[in-house]
C-alpha cells in the first residue's frame, strides 16, 4: 500500500469503505440464505481454479476472465441486489499471485458493480425469487440495463485507480474498457439468466448453476490450453529459426529483426490483423531456405562464380518448398519465394517486375535490406540507420517499391529502430574480410541474372 501515492491511497480507501458498507448492508438484508450461500460456494470454487492465461487482447482473454458476471446476474434475479453484492465480493478468494491490495480492491470493485447492477434490475421492475413464462421476453430489458451498469461502474472504478496511481488519462481508459468489455458483459448476462430460469423457473435449484457453468468452465480450460500451446509454438519456431541461423554467425537474429521491420511497414500501410500475423511469420521464415545453400558458398570470400550465385539464388525457392506444409501461412508463401525480386525485374528467382511482385515480398525486400545494412557483417561494420535509409531512397523505384520505402521511413519516425549493432557479433580478429557478394545488401546486389531467364522457379 505504501507504494501508492497519497491520492491513490485515499481513493482506494474510499472505495473499500463503500464496499464494506455495501457488503454489511447486504449481509443484513439477504432473505434467502440457502441459494445465496450456494452461489457463493460456486463462485469460490470457480475463483480458486483460475487458469493462467497468456493470450491477451483478444476473445481468448475475455472468455477467460468474465466468470463473476453470470453468477452475479443469477444472484440478483434469484435473491436481489444483496446476493449479487456478496457474489461480487467473493473475488477476494481469487487464486493467483496478485498482491493483496489489488485483490481486495478488485473484490470491492466487483461487489459495488454487482450491487449496483442488482439495484438497477430491481428498480426497472425485474422479478426476483421467481420467473414465470409471462416474464419473457420482458425480463431481458432490466437484465441488459443492469449489466450495462455493471460494466460502467466497473470501468469507472478501474479508471479511477489507474488515474490516481499511474496518471493514466481517465476518459480514455474509461472509453477503452467499456468498448472492449460491454459486448461480452451483455452476452454473459444471458448465462446468468439461464441459471436463474432453471433455478427458480424450472425449480432444479443449484444444479442449474453447475450445469450452466460447466460448459463455460470447459471453454475456459480449452482457451487456457490454446494460450499455452500458442506461446510454446512461438518459442519453438523462434528457436528453430535461430538454430538455422547458426550456419552464419553474422546473420544471428536477422530473421526476427526482418519480421519486426516488416510488421512495422505493414502497420503503416494499414494491413489487417490476419495479414499482419502471416507477414510476421513470413519475415521469420524468409531465409530458411539458406540451409539448402552449402555453407562454404554462404561464407565464401571473394567473387562468386556464376554457378555459385545460382546456388544462392535458389534459397527463396528452397525456403518456399520447406514451409509448404504450414497451411496458415497462406500469403506468406509468396512473400518468402519472391523476397529477392527487384522492381526493375533484375531480381531472382523469377525476375518479376513492379506490381507482379506480391505485396508481402515487396515489404520483406525493404525490411531485409534495411536490417542487413544496419547489422555487422563479416566484411564491414554496421551502417547507421540514416545511411541505410539513404541507401533505400537511392534504390527507390529501381530495386524497392517506393510505397514500401516511404512506409519504412514513416515507421522509423513512429518507432525508432531498437536493435543496436553492439548486440551483434563483431569479427573476432577485428578485421573485416573482403566479400564480393552479400545477397541481402543493395550495395552489393549482383547483376548476374540480368534478364528473365526462367519464367518458373527452377526445381
Amino acid at each position: 500500500m505504501r507504494d501508492y501515492p497519497l491520492p491513490a491511497r485515499l481513493y482506494i480507501e474510499v472505495v473499500l469503505l463503500a464496499a464494506a458498507i455495501a457488503v454489511a448492508l447486504s449481509v443484513l438484508s439477504v432473505t434467502a440464505w440457502g441459494p445465496t450461500a450456494l452461489l457463493l460456494a460456486l463462485m469460490v470454487v470457480l475463483e480458486r481454479t483460475r487458469f493462467d492465461l497468456v493470450a491477451q487482447g483478444d476473445v481468448a482473454a475475455s472468455v477467460g476472465t468474465v466468470m463473476t458476471l453470470p453468477v452475479a446476474t443469477a444472484a440478483y434475479i434469484i435473491d436481489g441486489p444483496a446476493a449479487a453484492t456478496l457474489v461480487g465480493a467473493s473475488a477476494l478468494a481469487v487464486a493467483g499471485r496478485t498482491g493483496w491490495v489489488k485483490r481486495v480492491f478488485n473484490a470491492a470493485q466487483f461487489a459495488l458493480a454487482a450491487g449496483a447492477a442488482g439495484l438497477v434490475y430491481v428498480w426497472l421492475g425485474g422479478p426476483t425469487h421467481a420467473l414465470a413464462n409471462s416474464d419473457f421476453p420482458g425480463v431481458l430489458l432490466p437484465i441488459l440495463a443492469a449489466n450495462l451498469a455493471y460494466c460502467v461502474i466497473n470501468a469507472v472504478l478501474l479508471a479511477g485507480v489507474l488515474w490516481f496511481a499511474q496518471g493514466a488519462p481517465p476518459l480514455i481508459v474509461l472509453r477503452g474498457t467499456i468498448l472492449q468489455s460491454a459486448p461480452s458483459y451483455l452476452g454473459y448476462g444471458l448465462f446468468g439468466l439461464m441459471i436463474a430460469v432453471l433455478w427458480v423457473g424450472v425449480g432444479i435449484g443449484p444444479l442449474s448453476a453447475v450445469l450452466v457453468m460447466l460448459p463455460l468452465f470447459v471453454a475456459r480450460w480449452a482457451i487456457a490450453q490454446y494460450a499455452l500451446e500458442r506461446s510454446a509454438y512461438e518459442a519453438t519456431i523462434r528457436t528453430l529459426v535461430r538454430a538455422v541461423e547458426t550456419k552464419d554467425h553474422y546473420t544471428r537474429g536477422h530473421s526476427e529483426r526482418v519480421s519486426h521491420a516488416s510488421v512495422m511497414i505493414a502497420k503503416v500501410l494499414g494491413m489487417g490483423d490476419d495479414r499482419l500475423h502471416a507477414l510476421r511469420y513470413a519475415g521469420i521464415l524468409h531465409d530458411v531456405g539458406k540451409l539448402g545453400v552449402p555453407t562454404k558458398i554462404l561464407q565464401k570470400t571473394g567473387r562468386l562464380t556464376d554457378a555459385e550465385f545460382q546456388a544462392i539464388a535458389l534459397h527463396p525457392v528452397r525456403g518456399r518448398e520447406m514451409v509448404e506444409g504450414i497451411e496458415f501461412l497462406g500469403e506468406a508463401f509468396e512473400g518468402i519465394l519472391h523476397h529477392h525480386e527487384r522492381l526493375d525485374g533484375r531480381g531472382y528467382p523469377m525476375g518479376l517486375t513492379g506490381e507482379e511482385i506480391p505485396e508481402f515480398a515487396r515489404v520483406i525486400a525493404v525490411a531485409d535490406a534495411f536490417d542487413s545494412m544496419t547489422s555487422t557483417r563479416s566484411y564491414r561494420g554496421a551502417r547507421t540507420v540514416q545511411e541505410a535509409v539513404d541507401e533505400l531512397i537511392a534504390n527507390r523505384g529501381t530495386q524497392f517499391d517506393p510505397r514500401m520505402v516511404d512506409a519504412m521511413i514513416a515507421a522509423l519516425e513512429r518507432e525508432p529502430w531498437q536493435h543496436r549493432p553492439a548486440e551483434q557479433l563483431t569479427p573476432e580478429d577485428g578485421e573485416f574480410l573482403p566479400v564480393a557478394v552479400d545477397h541481402d545488401d543493395p550495395a552489393f546486389q549482383p547483376v548476374v541474372l540480368g534478364e528473365r531467364r526462367s519464367p518458373r522457379p527452377p526445381r
Partner: protein, 434 residues
C-alpha cells in the same frame, strides 16, 4: 511383383478380419439399429402433434454435424449434434406438450439428422468416418433406452424437479462413459493400441468436451418444459463458445505439428540427411510407439523428437555421407544427439522432447551393467527406427528389409531394446506405410 505375393494372401485376409473386429461390430450394430428404427418410425409415425419437435431437434443435429470440428489426436467431434441428440433422448415436456416419442423415434431423428448434416461434408469429399456416426447412434440409443421407458410410463415426478434433474444427469454421465468406451474400442482397433491405454486416452482427451455436451443436453431437455423450443438456441450458446475454444486449440496444435514437420526437413534441404528420412523415421516411430501402448502425450513427444532427431547434424562441419548416423562413430552420434537436444531445450517448452533426443544415442544396455531404466522408451524407439531407416532407406525390397532387421536383432544384446525391435519387426512386416 515379388514371388512372396501369393503367400501374402492369407495374412492379408487375417489382417482384414483383425481390422473389422471391433470397429466393424460397432458399425454393423448401429446400422441394424438405425434401419430397424427407421422402419418402425415409417410404419407408426411420430406421436400426434410432436412432428415439429422432432424436426427441430433433427435440424439441430444436422447443423451440429455440419459444423463439426477436428481435434488433436486424429479425433473428430460434433458437440452441438451430440448435445441435440442427447437432449431429444432425455426430453420431457416441451411447454404444454407432454412428449411421448419412443426409443426408435429418437434413433431415427439422431440418424437422419446426422446424415443430413454429413451431406455437405460428403459433397466436399470429407465424408465422416463411419465409426463416428455409429458411436453417435449407439450412445443416443443408450440414453434413450434408459430414459424413454421410465418417462413415457411414469412421466416426471410432479413435486420434485430436482429428482428428475438428478436422474437426467446420471443418465447423461453414463452416456459419456459409454461413448468413451466405444471410442476406445475403435481406437484400440484402428491403431493397434492396448484397450486400457486407449480408454485412458479417450477419457483424458474427451472428458472436457463430452461433459460440456452432456450438460447442454440435460439443460435443453430440462429448460424445454418452461421455455419450449426456445431452449434449443439459448442453451446452445455456451456450447458454441466451447466449440469455438476447442477449434482454436485444435488449430494451433495442427499448426505446431505442421511447422515442426516442415522445419525438421532442414537437415534434408541442407544435404545432411537423405530425402524423406526424417518423415519415415517419425512415422515408423509413431507406429511402434502406438503398438507399445504409449499414451497420447508420450506419442506427441515421440513424434516431435523423431522429427527433430537429426537436428544436431547441423552442427557438424561436414555432412555424414548419406546422412546415415548408424554409420557414424559413437562419439559423433552422441555429439549429434547432444547438439540437437541443446537447440530443442532452448525453446524452453520442449524439455521432454530434448531429453528424448539427447538419449537417442545411448545403448539399451552396457556390457556388465544392468538395463538403464531411466532411458526413455521414446529414445529406444527412435534409436531403432533411425537405424532401420538408415539401413533400408525408402527401399521397398524385402531383402533389404530382412537384412536390416537381422542387423537390429544382432544389436539387441546391447544397442537395442528387444521389445522395441520385435514390435518394429511386426510393424514393418505388416507392410505398414512407413
Amino acid at each position: 511383383m515379388s514371388p512372396q505375393r501369393a503367400g501374402a494372401r492369407a495374412p492379408q485376409r487375417q489382417r482384414f478380419i483383425d481390422e473389422v473386429r471391433g470397429t466393424g461390430l460397432i458399425v454393423v450394430a448401429a446400422l441394424l439399429l438405425l434401419v430397424f428404427a427407421v422402419v418402425q418410425t415409417a410404419l407408426y409415425g411420430f406421436p400426434e402433434g410432436q412432428v415439429g419437435i422432432a424436426i427441430a431437434f433433427c435440424g439441430l443435429i444436422a447443423i451440429g454435424e455440419m459444423v463439426r470440428i477436428s481435434l488433436p489426436g486424429d479425433r473428430e467431434a460434433a458437440p452441438l449434434g451430440a448435445a441435440g441428440a442427447l437432449a431429444y433422448a432425455l426430453l420431457g415436456p416441451v411447454g404444454e406438450v407432454n412428449t411421448s416419442h419412443d426409443l426408435w423415434q429418437v434413433i431415427t431423428v439422431a440418424g437422419v439428422g446426422t446424415f443430413i448434416g454429413a451431406l455437405p461434408h460428403v459433397a466436399a469429399g470429407r465424408a465422416p468416418r463411419s465409426d463416428q456416426i455409429a458411436r453417435r447412434i449407439l450412445v443416443t440409443a443408450f440414453a434413450a433406452a434408459m430414459f424413454r421407458p421410465l418417462y413415457v410410463l411414469g412421466g416426471f415426478a410432479d413435486d420434485s424437479r430436482w429428482d428428475d434433474a438428478v436422474e437426467l444427469v446420471l443418465i447423461a454421465a453414463l452416456a459419456v462413459l459409454v461413448d468413451a468406451v466405444l471410442a476406445a474400442l475403435v481406437r484400440a482397433d484402428r491403431e493397434r493400441a492396448p484397450f486400457t491405454r486407449a480408454l485412458a486416452d479417450e477419457i483424458r482427451a474427451g472428458l472436457g468436451l463430452s461433459s460440456a455436451v452432456a450438460a447442454t443436453g440435460v439443460l435443453i431437455a430440462l429448460a424445454a418444459s418452461t421455455m419450449g423450443l426456445w431452449a434449443i438456441p439459448v442453451f446452445c450458446l455456451p456450447l458454441l463458445l466451447v466449440q469455438f475454444s476447442f477449434r482454436r486449440y485444435a488449430a494451433i496444435r495442427e499448426t505446431y505439428l505442421q511447422t515442426i514437420r516442415s522445419l525438421s526437413r532442414v537437415t534434408e534441404v541442407g544435404g545432411y540427411t537423405e530425402t524423406g528420412h526424417v518423415g519415415r523415421v517419425a512415422n515408423l516411430s509413431r507406429s511402434v510407439g502406438l503398438e507399445l501402448g504409449l499414451s497420447d502425450s508420450d506419442l506427441r513427444d515421440l513424434e516431435y523428437a523423431a522429427l527433430m532427431h537429426d537436428l544436431g547434424q547441423l552442427s557438424l562441419l561436414e555432412p555424414i555421407p548419406g546422412g546415415a548416423t548408424v554409420f557414424a562413430n559413437v562419439a559423433d552420434q552422441h555429439r549429434i544427439a547432444d547438439g540437437g537436444a541443446e537447440v530443442i531445450r532452448q525453446t524452453g517448452v520442449l524439455d521432454q522432447v530434448a531429453t528424448i533426443v539427447e538419449r537417442q544415442a545411448d545403448p539399451y544396455r552396457r556390457p556388465h551393467e544392468q538395463v538403464d531404466r531411466s532411458l526413455p522408451m521414446a529414445s529406444r524407439i527412435i534409436k531403432a527406427a533411425n537405424a532401420y531407416d538408415d539401413l533400408v532407406g525408402g527401399s521397398l525390397e524385402s531383402d533389404r528389409r530382412l537384412e536390416a532387421l537381422e542387423r537390429l536383432r544382432l544389436g539387441m544384446a546391447y544397442d537395442f531394446d528387444p521389445r522395441v525391435v520385435e514390435t518394429l519387426a511386426r510393424v514393418v512386416g505388416r507392410g505398414a506405410r512407413v
